[in-house]
Amino acid sequence: MLRYLIQRLFIMIPTLLVISFLVFAIIQAPPGDYLESMVAEMQSRGENVPQDKIDWLRHTYGLDQPFYVQYLQWMFGSWNGLHYEGGGLVFGDLGYSFEHNLPVKEVVGDRLSLTVVVSLASVLFVWLISFPIAVYSATHQYSFFDYLFTFFGYIGLATPSFLLALVLLYFANVWFGTSIGGLVDPQYMDQPWSWGKLVSVLQHMWVPVLVIGLPGTAGMIRRLRANLLDELNKQYVVTGRAKGLPPFRLLMKYPLRLSLNPFIADIGSLLPELISGSVVVSVVMSLPITGPMLLEALRSQDMYLAGSFLMFMAVLTVFGIFVSDIALALLDPRIRFGAGSSR
């Protein structure tokens, strides 16, 4: 097990390095750099350009350097020989937001932690909802509720989450006359964490979690139902039933456990899906998570801010996949002992 864990960790690091390179290449791609346009704009307004600050930015992030130097400085900070001078993503310096004129860390605030909270809550939601429904649908195949759930599943699959968010916002407005956007009450905005804020977040969170999780739930129900049906049609189930095993025990003992495998393995595909969904939904519902700010940063080519968000989402997903792989190995000895590659 330890060997598997270490092996997975070693796969994760190069993956993240490649992703960071990709992300940097993408945010670097637009021509010109933000600093130049900022200086030009400030000069045109007749403002004084703080030359030492610009020099510092240029030096720290190596904006006058070739591409690979910039990348290395962004990732690993600037070094003078062996002497560490500051910066670097791996040391927790997310860079500088030119748009907001602040270090990215201060601009971002608790958006990152809220993103994690919302994503985790969505994953939990998907599990909690899809598990009983899928089991019911599979054991009562072709029953009325099976058809009903399948129908809703298809609708959920076809309706992108941001449209669902729009519809919900509209009906909340028509029926209750309130706006359900946001993640906390306005009074708690930009406040430090407290008990009241936590309660307020929990009160607001169910709507975005519902909206973000629904398409994933639909997919999960479909997969779990299909898997369970496959298992239920196997001969050992018939044998068990013929020998008089109680139906519930028969279901619990083998078929359910076997079909749970994809439940955990699917985090790998579920998490990117949820995060993608949360980006658009958060724009529609103006949630204080990464989505709206990422969009704004991409529009204004605020490269380090956008890069930090992209990297953060990728890290979140890669880490989620890592956790799911470990959980899967714990659950299924075939994978632990290396036979799972044919999966």
């Binding site: 449209l163 990117p272 658009v280 969009l295 991409l298 989402m313």
Partner: protein, 390 residues
């Protein structure tokens, strides 16, 4: 004790007088023979036809794609004709009976006034005079496919009124017309994007599956990296690179390529796993022993046996592309005006105030959902039919 029957009746024993034909089991009825002799594609068609929902979805999609060719003619207005007097007009109801008398489909003209207190535009139906909808008529001029000048339409607004079947937007443009025009972009972008990802997926999946070894490892790692980045943020970042100076058409192709560039991983995986299992089959080894080149083996022997699966996977990949384009355009980083797509139209509905006042702006999501559903059903049917021997 069970009492034995004293004199047991002999069981009735039936002997057929017909001559015995030992080959009777092997004889097949004409229908069966037809089925047995049917080609693989014909078997697939027979299997597919049984999936009613898939057939229905296929017909819906076919109608939509055909109508894309004649959008200019189908739409009551031209793509961006404005009616400055009718801004944010709600959908007009189509009536058939006026004061109890049947006079065919018609609408009532709108009377417009501004509520001076709330500054809200109020449209009321003028019940005095029914305005008959005209068919096969002359209306706004357009260039058919950007080439042929014409002005005939299938339906036109009544002579003395407007025809907003689904309402109008902030510039007084007919939403129905714009949804029809938007279909052209939204429906084709999925096909073009899937073609891009199909080519990429075949190429990389084929290389990985056929050669195995380090090529396989490399492609697998690349796929893993791409799959572990959430698609939408990546699409957004790539779309943000497209220069503002590009023409709308270039942007369109840029977006399709972006969609395809990231989405090929699923198809590549499907190709790879199929190839890995097929490579060991006898017919493939035989071809190899006879000295067939890798290209010939892949395209002549392997491809036909998994093409059907690929088509099914590709069909299931199209809705993701359509939704991707819709999301990108909705956020303002995808297709840009003056070209319309359903996502561009929904961009107007981003503001919750607008949606609360003018809910018909959300209507473009209806075709999106219908198309995505239809592709899912069609893909399911195709997937079931892809292996007709089961």
């Amino acid at each position: 004790m069970i009492e034995m029957n004293a004199d047991p009746q002999p069981l009735p024993h039936f002997i057929s007088p017909e001559p015995f034909d030992p080959h009777a089991v092997e004889e097949v009825s004409p229908e069966q023979e037809k089925l047995y002799l049917a080609s693989q594609w014909r078997m697939m068609w027979l299997r597919f036809r049984k999936h009613r929902l898939a057939v229905f979805a296929g017909i819906v999609l076919a109608v939509m794609y055909v109508s894309v060719f004649a959008v200019e003619w189908l739409a009551p207005y031209a793509q961006s004709s404005r009616n400055v007097d009718f801004i944010f007009a709600p959908p007009q109801r189509v009536h058939l009976f006026d004061k109890g008398a049947f006079i065919g489909p018609f609408v009532y003209a709108y009377d417009y006034r501004l509520d001076m207190e709330t500054l809200k535009r109020i449209y009321t139906e003028n019940r005095e005079k029914p305005q008959k909808i005209r068919f096969f008529c002359r209306g706004d001029g357009y260039k058919f496919w950007g080439v042929l000048d014409s002005n005939t339409h299938l339906i036109c607004p009544p002579a003395g009124s407007t025809l907003f079947l689904l309402g109008s937007d902030r510039l007084g443009r007919d939403l129905f017309t714009r949804i029809l025009y938007g279909a052209r972009v939204s429906l084709t972008i999925g096909l073009v994007g899937v073609t891009v990802s199909f080519v990429l997926g075949m190429l990389f999946g084929g290389l990985a599956g056929y050669y195995g070894g380090w090529v396989d490892d490399l492609v697998q790692r690349a796929i893993e990296v791409l799959r572990s980045i959430p698609h939408l943020p990546l699409w957004l970042a790539l779309a943000a690179i497209l220069p503002v100076t590009w023409s709308p058409l270039l942007i369109y192709f840029g977006i399709t390529i972006i969609l395809g560039l990231i989405d090929w991983t699923g198809l590549a995986r499907a190709v790879r796993s199929r190839l890995l299992s097929l490579r060991e089959e006898d017919f493939c080894v035989a071809a190899e022993l006879m000295g067939a080149s890798p290209g010939r083996i892949i395209f002549r022997h392997l491809m036909p046996s998994f093409m059907s699966h690929l088509i099914a996977s590709a069909t299931l990949a199209i809705p993701g592309m359509i939704l991707g384009e819709t999301a990108l355009s909705f956020l303002g980083l995808g297709i840009r005006a003056p070209i319309v797509s359903w996502g561009v139209l929904l961009n107007d509905a981003q503001n919750i105030q607008a949606v609360a006042l003018y809910p018909w702006l959300m209507l473009p999501m209806v075709p999106v959902v219908i198309v995505v559903l239809a592709f899912n059903f069609l893909g399911d049917g195709l997937r079931d039919a892809a292996d007709p021997y089961k």
